[in-house]
Subunit: 294 residues, 2 copies
C-alpha cells in the first residue's frame, strides 16, 4: 500500500511516499517559499503515484486542528511571511480524492516515535515529543489520540524559573521574551554569546543553563501529563546535551515521583536523520485508510 | 440506583450515598484519623445501604492508579502520618462485593465539573480542575478519560518564573522549596506575612503575587493540554481572586493563543460547597455499573 507524507517545516518541506511498514520508496525535500509554489511541488510529487491511498501532513503552525471549524486545515496566524491564513489542507483536497490526515509537525514526530516504540515491543500508552530547534514545540500522543482540544499544544511559550547565572538575558520571543522558546531556541545562542550553538563546546556553561530550562520543560510535561517517555529532537539536541538535561531533571524532581530509568525516559528519537515525522505520517495515513475501510 | 462516594482528604472524609442523577440521599463527614478507623467509618456508613451498586473513591495522594501494578489502590508515600502504604481499595474490596472506582481527589472533582458542564449543555471534551488549598494539585479529563499514564499528574511541583516582588521568599515545599505548591498553597500566607490568608484583604499586594503564579499554572495547563475549561477550587480561591488570575493570564498570554472568553475559561466550580468530587464520584460509580452491565 502506498502512503504519502508531508513534513511541512518553516524552512523546508520533506515529502515522501512509502508503505505501511514505514519503508520510504521515494523522498524529496525543497525549501519553503510561497504557499502556492511549495504546496504545488508536493502535489506534483504525489501525482506521480496514482495508487496512493492516503496522505498525512505534519505542519508547522499554528494550525487549525478543530474539524468543526471553518478554518480546519489552515495554517493560521504564523510569523512565517506569506503563510498566514493558508488553506493547506484545502489545496491538497482539491488535488487528491484521498483521505488526508492533518496535524502539527511535533504531533507527527510524536506519532512516529510512538509507532517505533510499539514496534520495538515497548508497551507505551503516552509519549511526548519535543523539538528544540529554530522554535520549540511538543506533541503528545495518549492512548492513540493527540492531546489538544481547544487547539494544539504550544508548550514553547510557558514560563520558567530563571537560572541564577542567566538573569540578565531577556529572551528572544517576540511575544513573551523569556518563555521556554525565548530562552532555549537555537537562535538564543547567538543572542547570548554572539556565536552559533554549533560553535560552542558542550563544556561551556551556557549549555548547563540550557539544560536547566529544558529539564524544567520535561518536568512540566511529567507533572501535567505523566507520559511514559519524553523524546527530544531538533537541532539543539544531542545525547551529550540530554545527559545534562537528565541531571538537571533529577535535581529538580528531588525523588518526588518515580519515572523509572531516566535514560529510558528522556531520550533522543529512535528514528534516524529527523525521520520521526515521516514515519508518523505513514502510520497516520495508514490509520486513515483503515478507518475509511471500516 | 444507589451509588457511593468517598472524598478522602488528608483532613476530613466526606462519604455520601446518592443516585445517578447526582442527588445526595445521605452524607456524613468526619476527621481523618488512622487509616483503619477512618476507612472503617466509611465501610460502616455504606453497610447501611445493601442496595448500593457501586462506589467511587477520590483520594488524597500520592496514590497508585496503574491497574497492572501490585500496589494498585494504595495510598503510596504520603507525608500524612500513618497513611503511607495504605491498601485503601483493598480494605473496601474486602467489605463490598461491588465495582469500586479509584482515582485522585482532583480527578474526582474534575469529573464532577465535567459532568455538570455537560449536563448544562456545554460541549466539553477536556477540562482541568485545580485545587489551591492546603496543597496544590490538578486533574484533567480528556474525552472521558483521565490524563495520567505513568501515574497521576502532580502539577503542584512545577517551577515558575518568580514575581519580582517575591524573590526573597524561599517557598514552603519540603521537596522543592519554590515550586507552585511551595509558592501558593494556603500556608504560604502565614509564611510570607505572619497572617492567615483569610485575614489578608484581597487588595493586599500578596494576592497579586499569588495571582501571577496561579496564572502561570493556568498558562502551563493551557499550553500543554489545551482544555476547554480550567476550574479552580480550594480554600484559597474566590471569584475576586480569579479576576486577578484572569488579568495576569491575559498579560502572560499576550494574545498568542485564543482561549475564548476568559470568564468562561478560568472559572470557579459549578458545584456548590466543594461538592464537585461527590458529584464526580456518583458519575464515576454510575459509569462502573454501566460498564459492568455491558
Amino acid at each position: 500500500m502506498l502512503l504519502g507524507s508531508i513534513e511541512a517545516g518553516g524552512t523546508k518541506f520533506v515529502c515522501a511516499v512509502g508503505n505501511e511498514d514505514y519503508q520510504v520508496k521515494e523522498q524529496i525535500q525543497y525549501p519553503t517559499t510561497t504557499p502556492e509554489e511549495t504546496i504545488q511541488r508536493s502535489i506534483d510529487f504525489f501525482k506521480k503515484y496514482p495508487d496512493l491511498r492516503a496522505i498525512s501532513v505534519a505542519s508547522f503552525g499554528p494550525i487549525e486542528i478543530r474539524k468543526n471549524t471553518e478554518k480546519y486545515g489552515y495554517i493560521t496566524d504564523t510569523p512565517k511571511v506569506g503563510w498566514s491564513q493558508t488553506n493547506f489542507l484545502g489545496m491538497l483536497q482539491k488535488a487528491f480524492d484521498l483521505p488526508i490526515y492533518w496535524t502539527t509537525d511535533v504531533n507527527g514526530s510524536a506519532y512516529g516515535e510512538y509507532t517505533l516504540a510499539l514496534a520495538s515491543g515497548n508497551q507505551i500508552d503516552a509519549l511526548t515529543y519535543y523539538t528544540i530547534g529554530t522554535g520549540v514545540g511538543a506533541g503528545t500522543i495518549l492512548n492513540g489520540q493527540f492531546i489538544g482540544t481547544l487547539g494544539h499544544p504550544e508548550v514553547g511559550h510557558v514560563r520558567l524559573k530563571r537560572h541564577p547565572d542567566d538573569l540578565d538575558f531577556k529572551g528572544i520571543c517576540p511575544y513573551h521574551g523569556d518563555c521556554l522558546e525565548g530562552l532555549v531556541a537555537g537562535p538564543t545562542f547567538e543572542a547570548r554569546t554572539g556565536k552559533k550553538g554549533q560553535d560552542i563546546p558542550l563544556s561551556d556553561h551556557v549549555w548547563d543553563i540550557m539544560a536547566y530550562y529544558v529539564a524544567q520543560a520535561a518536568l512540566q510535561t511529567t507533572l501535567h501529563i505523566r507520559p511514559q517517555k519524553i523524546v527530544f529532537g531538533g537541532g539543539v539536541v544531542s545525547e551529550t546535551f540530554l545527559k545534562k538535561v537528565r541531571h538537571e531533571f533529577a535535581t529538580l524532581m528531588n525523588d518526588y515521583q518515580d519515572v523509572g530509568d531516566l535514560e529510558d525516559y528522556i531520550t533522543m528519537p529512535i528514528a534516524e536523520n529527523n525521520g520521526s515525522a515521516t514515519i508518523g505520517n505513514f502510520a497516520l495515513a495508514y490509520r486513515e485508510v483503515k478507518s475509511a475501510d471500516n
